[in-house]
Subunit: 135 residues, 3 copies
């Protein structure tokens, strides 16, 4: 089964979506299987990161925004705003799809792992993701 | 089922392969499921990117080639040419496999998303990909 | 089925795990299907890379460690050591999950492809991975 979930973002950075994905796994009733998440946008992405200390997620955002800076003179794709081309590059460097084994009816994440939607645009929006749960 | 598809490249950059992947999904007849694409090379990769404006793809290529430059003095793996080690690094920073849910018999891509093979060698070639479609 | 495998690392760099993953595929007895690998840590990651020349893997490690340096003044997440925040960034830039089609009962890897666990901490440890094999 595939379920669509929407994650509301409020500007650049990581938004945890582990519980929404876990909910789709629970609904499926599958005990062993595979859960795949895909974000349906090219200016946001997915990552599995540490769910303990928020400072790690803030540093991730700041580091990546320094690497992929706005107003780089090489950009020709500028019509959608200064944060648009950096968003596409950041999405290419991180992940658009993630697949997580289901173990004993639950997401097989490590103790410190959470699933995050990574918003790359300055202005947050409602981001659509697909969650597929199968054998 | 798994189908092998070959994508011809003509030098560095992104080549759209959405219709080839969609064809494998159609052939499978599956209405709900998961489609996984893998590139069988380590000097090319995969990405889901904007399918509207070609300038975004050109900027992606130029940006990544500036980040991962040829003739970097740290390279020791140089026997296969100046574009070989940068190709492996670019492949590591992007994706070798992608998994896309199938919704109503079609790839569950967002409106502006396309699937691209990203060639990292200067000389294009015939790139082999596997497309798996399953439940 | 999902199998847990443990990969012992001995410091930063790539450790091949192709044979462990292939073993899980063989045990499953599946002829056609999909094999998904996930690392259950946020300071190690996965990559599919060239299995021929070890110099390519050494250059990958050196290049990425130069890009994501320790002791960067922007880090605020420093309580777990100077190699911790770089590890999270390196994991975000590479892969936490990989999905490989199974063809004729074997991993559908290209001739020169191997599956690697990429250790990002200075001190190696026993890294837990899940391998799911399904239809």
């Amino acid at each position: 089964m595939t379920k669509r979930i929407t994650i509301q973002t409020r500007g650049q950075g990581l938004v945890e979506m582990t519980s929404e994905v876990a909910g789709a796994v629970r609904e499926s009733g599958l005990v062993d299987g595979l859960c795949t998440v895909m974000v349906q946008h090219t200016s946001a992405s997915l990552t599995i990161q540490e769910n303990a200390d928020p400072s790690a997620r803030r540093d991730l955002e700041v580091w990546l925004s320094r690497l992929v800076s706005e107003n780089d003179s090489l950009y020709t794709h500028t019509s959608e705003g200064p944060d648009d081309m950096p968003s596409h590059i950041k999405a290419a460097l991180t992940s658009t799809t993630l697949s997580i084994p289901i173990v004993d009816g639950r997401l097989g994440l490590g103790t410190w792992q959470g699933i995050y939607l990574w918003e790359h645009r300055r202005r947050g929006s409602a981001r659509s993701c697909l969650v597929h749960v199968g054998g």
